[in-house]
């Protein structure tokens, strides 16, 4: 059946484009989903996968391009229309109502009714119990959704789709936060759905999963469709090459490092329920990467080291001096800089100019008698703009006018202007186009060669493998492996990150 797909696809999207202001999130979204087939959509972060999903969900209306359902061109005016067309979406972040019951979450807006348009609670709970039983999970339909584990939330989302008798099921990275057992359970569900003729769109970064359950693979890069192939007719290497679109050594210019003395030492760091007994060090002149799945606790390590979150036990010291608990100011004074993951919310003041943003973390040095001297502010910004090869019009232009990659350079410049000894950088190239990515990597490499210590958090495995001297793999709040550059590859890192038995701990 999967070899010989039915002639009429359930859903097709042809050359769909979507822009947000100047940002072209999707340039050519093309895909065809056949009944009874699991279809993988792969691509790096920022490749346009999520935008394509939101078009199928009816959340975004494409600027151009054609969407068909069962061969008929359609316009989905909203999520309800998409659901009416038989398309159900399971988002990466579960979207539940914490105050309502599991059953209500599943049937919101579609509750079974009895006489007088009243909600038939008994029927609703019965039906949910039936769906949950079919999924093989023990979950009380009348339980509040607040406090459900991520895996159970995902189950609720799947039950939602099943209850709507979806013909097309889109899963946006459903396995990102699941354990191996839960993934296996999910795969059984997907197989069962396929057998019922449902078309499944499966988005995942884990290529082994993609090859395990999908019959067809579509690859996207930089907002564009690259190619679609039968899973049997393509290799993992070919997929990766199509995703990345260029050779890795151009993208990851890494100079072999000669690490110096220890800059950051973390001893038995714990935060109740989040981090458990984290110990590691970062030395002068090396990049240490924190790898792991979303939710493994990588950003939490950065937050606890920098003092944003209090640690419940453990010690953090910078150049031998212990950092007080819960004090970002003390961390900054000790020479630590943190470039956060979300640069628009946490890294930049979007409406301020490049000069102001660059100077923000160095105002103390730039002021005399409490007044900031704008000439020095401009000099500082100009010098970093040229060192980081920033592409800009004028220094006074608001940073919101810059591209993502150049915004990231401004955030980098802001912290580098403080001349830190340790740079913590969370997802350095998320949402940045490939060209600028390589530049950011070159900048990092140059900084490290000059003696900076870098702790890098990244979800992009190629980046981790390409840039790091050492890799710490995290899983569920613990460090499960420490790998030297030479011994790390996609397989060893993913195994440690997902807790697969073989060679799990280093």
């Amino acid at each position: 059946m999967s070899e010989q797909p039915a002639p009429v696809p359930r859903v097709t999207l042809d050359q769909a484009a979507k822009s947000f202001g100047a940002v072209r999130a999707l340039i050519d979204g093309t895909i065809a989903l056949y009944p009874g087939e699991a279809h993988a959509l792969v691509g790096e972060n920022g490749a346009g996968k999520s935008t394509l999903v939101k078009i199928l969900a009816g959340v975004y209306q494409p600027d151009s391009g054609v969407l068909t359902v069962n061969g008929e061109p359609v316009t989905l005016s909203g999520p309800t229309a998409a659901r009416g067309a038989g398309i159900s979406i399971i988002y990466q972040e579960p979207t539940l109502f914490p105050d309502l019951t599991v059953a209500e979450n599943i049937f919101m807006g579609r509750q079974p009714l009895r006489a007088g348009r009243r909600i038939d609670r008994a029927a609703m709970n019965r039906s949910v119990a039936g769906i949950l039983a079919r999924l093989g999970v023990v979950l009380d339909p009348q339980r509040q959704a607040r406090g459900l584990s991520v895996a159970d939330q995902q189950i609720v989302e799947i039950a939602k789709a099943l209850s709507a008798s979806a013909k097309v099921l889109v899963m946006d990275e459903p396995t990102a936060a699941l354990t191996a057992v839960e993934v296996a359970r999910l795969f059984e569900v997907i197989s069962a759905l396929r057998a019922e003729g449902v078309a499944v769109l499966f988005i995942s970064h884990r290529l082994e999963e993609v090859f395990a359950i999908c019959q067809r693979i579509t690859i996207m890069r930089d907002g564009r469709f690259v190619r679609t192939a039968a899973a049997a007719a393509i290799t993992v290497d070919e997929v990766i090459r199509a995703m990345v679109g260029r050779d890795l050594d151009v993208l990851f210019p890494k100079t072999p490092a000669e690490p110096g003395e220890v800059v950051l030492r973390v001893d038995h760091l714990s935060r109740e329920g989040v981090l458990h007994d984290i110990s590691f060090s970062v030395r002068r002149g090396e990049i240490v990467a924190l790898a792991g799945l979303v939710g493994a606790g990588r950003s939490e390590v950065a937050r606890a080291v920098f003092g944003i979150d209090r640690r419940s036990s453990g010690e953090v010291s910078v150049r031998g001096t212990p950092l007080p608990n819960g004090s970002p100011l003390a961390a900054m004074a000790a020479g630590v800089a943190l470039v956060p993951e979300d640069r628009r919310q946490q890294g930049l003041v979007m409406d301020l100019g490049i000069d102001r943003n660059t100077a923000l973390a160095s105002l103390g040095r730039l002021s005399r008698f409490g007044l900031i001297r704008s000439a020095r502010e401009r000099d500082l910004a100009a010098s970093w703009a040229s060192r980081l090869q920033l592409k800009f019009g004028r220094l006074r232009d608001a940073v919101s006018t810059l591209s993502g990659g150049n915004q990231q350079k401004v955030v980098l410049g802001k912290w580098l202007a403080r001349e830190p000894c340790l740079l913590i950088i969370d997802e350095p190239t998320r949402g940045i186009d490939v060209g600028t990515k390589a530049e950011v990597h070159r900048i990092l490499d140059g900084l490290v060669t000059d003696g900076l210590a870098v702790l890098m958090i990244s979800s992009e495995l190629p980046e981790v493998l390409g840039m790091a001297d050492r890799i710490l793999v995290m899983r569920e709040g613990r460090i499960t492996a420490e790998l030297a550059r030479a011994e790390a590859d996609e397989d060893t890192v993913m195994r440690a990150a997902t807790g697969q038995p073989r060679e799990a701990a280093a």
Binding site: A57, V59, G78, P79, T80, R83, I89, Y91, T95, L96, F97, P98, D99, L100, E104, M108, G109, Q111, L113, R117, R118, I119, R121, R146, G147, S149, E272, G273, V274, H276, E476, G477
Partner: protein, 346 residues
Amino acid sequence: MTVLASPGPAGTGSRFARAGALLRAREVGIGVVLLVVFGVTTAHNHNFADANSVQQLLSGAALIAMLGVGETLVIVTRNVDLSVGSVVGLSAYVIGDLFSHHPGMPVILGFAVGIGIGAVIGAINGFITAALRVPSLVVTLAMLYIVRGVDGRVVNGVIIVPSNIPSAFVAIGFRTFLGIPWLAIIAFLIVVVVAYAMRSFRSGRDLYAIGSNPEAAALAGVLSARRVFTAFVFSGALAGLAGALFLALHAEVDVTAGTGYELLVVAAVVVGGVAIFGGSGTVVGAALGALLLNTINQALVASRVSSFWNEAIAGALLLGAIAFDRWLSLRVARGLRSAEGAHRDL
């Protein structure tokens, strides 16, 4: 006064101990506190349990409870309606003024006018909040002042006196049925009907969904703007009705009628267990909260405690209720965090 102040906190204290079990039944807790306040006050002043005194208590609470029902609909959607107090005043005065000039006007028309005025003001609130996406706190605060201003202009120093109001209308304010004031019966019916609707109709569940997670509500295809608009219209209409009943109860209206009700209502609703950030709470809880605040109020009067304590105690109760909620949710969050940690350890 210290004797009287103690029952409230003591009652709350016993709830602290069984916090987990009562988490889902704030109504039970309020009921207990209510009985304690009532019992202790009666022990000190036997007149407090008089039929007359109880009827007064219920009539006063009925108005706040009615407003509390509308306010609950709004707060559950993560909004707030601060204009209700001024709507009560305007509605009461306009109806009274109509009766003064047209003595033969049917009673039912008086109610229709009050409800109409409230619904129109609610519709304006709802439109600006839902369609133009202005925070409801600002919108309804502005509306509070605007309506007060209009009220002052309309009243223009003239006071409505009982002799101008048809006796059939005033009768609604003081008549009883089987010893229960009509006002309380009306409020009770409203609470029952709305409580049922909030539980059993999709539109009611939509309100909870919107307040619980607005983004998820949009993804589930809930028509958020329409529902929020309707909630405001409803709150306004109930405030208009409360204005008519205010006139029936007091038969006397001046420009200060309904002043300060908005905060009293919000306090009652929050004490009644409606989460101020939306998503949870019931109109039954809100009505009980109104009854509790009014009972404490009357208990203080009956015990000859200075009326200043009245507001202070209402405030303390509010703080207590919010602190209690916060404490509970922190405890739940911490519990979940370590439970999840423990789960992962497996």
